[in-house]
Symmetry: C2
């Protein structure tokens, strides 16, 4: 049987995870790099970071020349096919992998596969951004994922943004300072609105600067802070509407729903309960919640092979993934 | 009496207006250039556009070498003093005007002077962005002006953003399509969420791309559209809270309030009435509304001379401004 080398990449706004996989020896090599979300760092930097990660995993697998059968990249912030194509071609040039072996797609496809492998289901991503994506009987549905300017309900960015507005409204005297506003202003050293604006607008990457505050908001929520609870619950309400919209569009009676993303993973117990409760209230049915089963970079390989419609290679990949990609 | 040549610039996200003024011959020369808001186009392009406008008005006044006593620049998106200083120095290099004759400050100071000249009062700016700024007895207060990521209530950007969310919620099946969503989707040729995302995120300037939709929202509001009314009135409610906060902080019993900015100026009758009504309801007092008296670029000269504390030059400038800068 031909030796099969596969590379998967999960390209995010905070970090990039890559896996190199040899299905004959059933070995996986993982590495991480910095941010490579193309809508945040730009196509040029994104492709350079991803190419470096690809080279690293191939070298670790013992391959000097880049000969993978697929380099599958799930990238946040890929809005349409032509944009994905620019990234794909640039990545081919930088990595030396032939362009027809590089596949670039939205990261929610990799997230979906990381929960459901090649089966049907609906995944909600709560990371720096957010999105809901479902597959059923060969159809796919996406709702939300509108990016930081237009949407990203429930995401780390939105939680951070709303907490910064609390701080600004406090510092500008528009309303009484909430305990959350005081906590954030103290932790970040904000003593005027101008400090907050400098923090966001002069940051090299405003999106991640804002999203980095989500950890504090979630901690305050766990500690019983009322303002944090109001922010988190209203964001989760909006997000749950998007999950419900996908369930309705797919039209299954007992939907499988899973969640991933950094905000979800870091607050799994709390958010699983909250999401399940709100979703069941909204839809009036029982919902079974699934968890991420394999790493997102391995999900990218599954998604990439599904897009290439290569069921033979997919079967071999799944066999290896179940052995060496478990979370 | 020494010949006095003054230059004022109103640097915005949509356009740049410059005035060159000779107080001896009492002549004013105006010109406009494209966008130069430094937070939108970057310091380098901003200073290049402003330097070109400065050169044009000086040449038109008959000055080959740049010899103005002041180049006063009111710029949107100047968050703090160090940022203003970088722009000031770069502008000095590009224009050849000595750095100590260049003054850079937030555009709301120019807006304030364009309504109240050198007197006290409170100005609310509703343009691409928004802000409230007041002066009273040597004190100044600013509320809002948090930029497109964190605030800008009532601005063209926020009206455009909310209308785009209407379109996305409609296209994603999250709720019934409002007449405003249908109107905007048709006018812009949006048939999927991906079209909307491409329009915003692949635009060279997402802020102005979003803000450009405000005209459609305001027209729909004037035509009696319910969704447009809900968007505009909720945004104006938020903005009015900021105006009220400035009034309370300044602590005057019969405040003078004026409004400027492209969204206000293009919908003056409607917004004057709405702002006055909501402000009087919120505060329970009568509010006298003032209008912009002189062009914003001339307001920049007044604001610049006030910052330089040059009352002699200010008196001469005001004399000329009242003759050749009226709106």
């Amino acid at each position: 049987m031909e030796k099969l080398v596969l590379v998967g990449v999960d390209s995010g706004a905070t970090k990039t995870e890559a896996v190199g996989m040899d299905t004959t020896s059933q070995v996986c090599v993982f590495t991480t790099e910095g941010p490579s979300n193309p809508s945040v760092v730009g196509i040029e930097k994104s492709s350079a970071v991803i190419a470096r990660a690809v080279e690293k995993v191939l070298t670790s697998l013992g391959y000097e020349k880049p000969t993978p059968h697929i380099v599958a990249v799930g990238a946040a912030g890929v809005v349409n096919k032509s944009y994905a194509d620019v990234l794909r071609k640039r990545l081919s040039v930088l990595s030396g992998v032939p362009a027809d072996r590089v596949v670039v797609f939205e990261d929610e496809l990799a997230a979906h596969a990381s929960v459901f492998l090649s089966s049907d289901g609906i995944v909600g991503v709560l990371g720096t951004g957010s999105c809901v994506y479902g597959e059923f009987a060969g159809h796919s549905v996406r709702v939300g994922g509108w990016g930081h300017l237009l949407g990203d309900e429930g995401s780390g960015y939105r939680l951070g943004l709303k907490s910064l507005r609390e701080v600004l409204e406090c510092l500008d005297g528009l309303k009484e300072c909430s305990s959350l506003a005081i906590l954030i202003a103290r932790s970040m050293g904000f003593s005027s609105a101008s400090d907050v604006l400098s923090y966001v607008y002069y940051s090299e990457n405003p999106k991640t600067a804002v999203a980095s505050l989500a950890t504090m908001v979630m901690k305050a929520y766990r500690d019983g802070d009322n303002t944090a609870a109001r922010i988190v619950e209203s964001e989760i309400d909006e997000f749950v509407k998007q999950v419900a919209a996908v369930i309705r569009k797919i039209g299954v009676s007992s939907p499988k729903v899973g969640f991933t993303g950094s905000v979800y993973m870091e607050n799994r117990e709390l958010l699983r309960h909250l999401l399940k409760k709100k979703l069941e209230e909204l839809l009036g049915i029982d919902i079974e919640i699934f968890e991420q089963k394999v790493r997102a970079s391995c999900g990218a390989i599954i998604a990439g092979l599904k897009l290439k419609n290569d069921s033979t290679m997919l079967a071999r990949a799944l066999n290896t993934i179940e052995k060496c990609c478990l979370c």
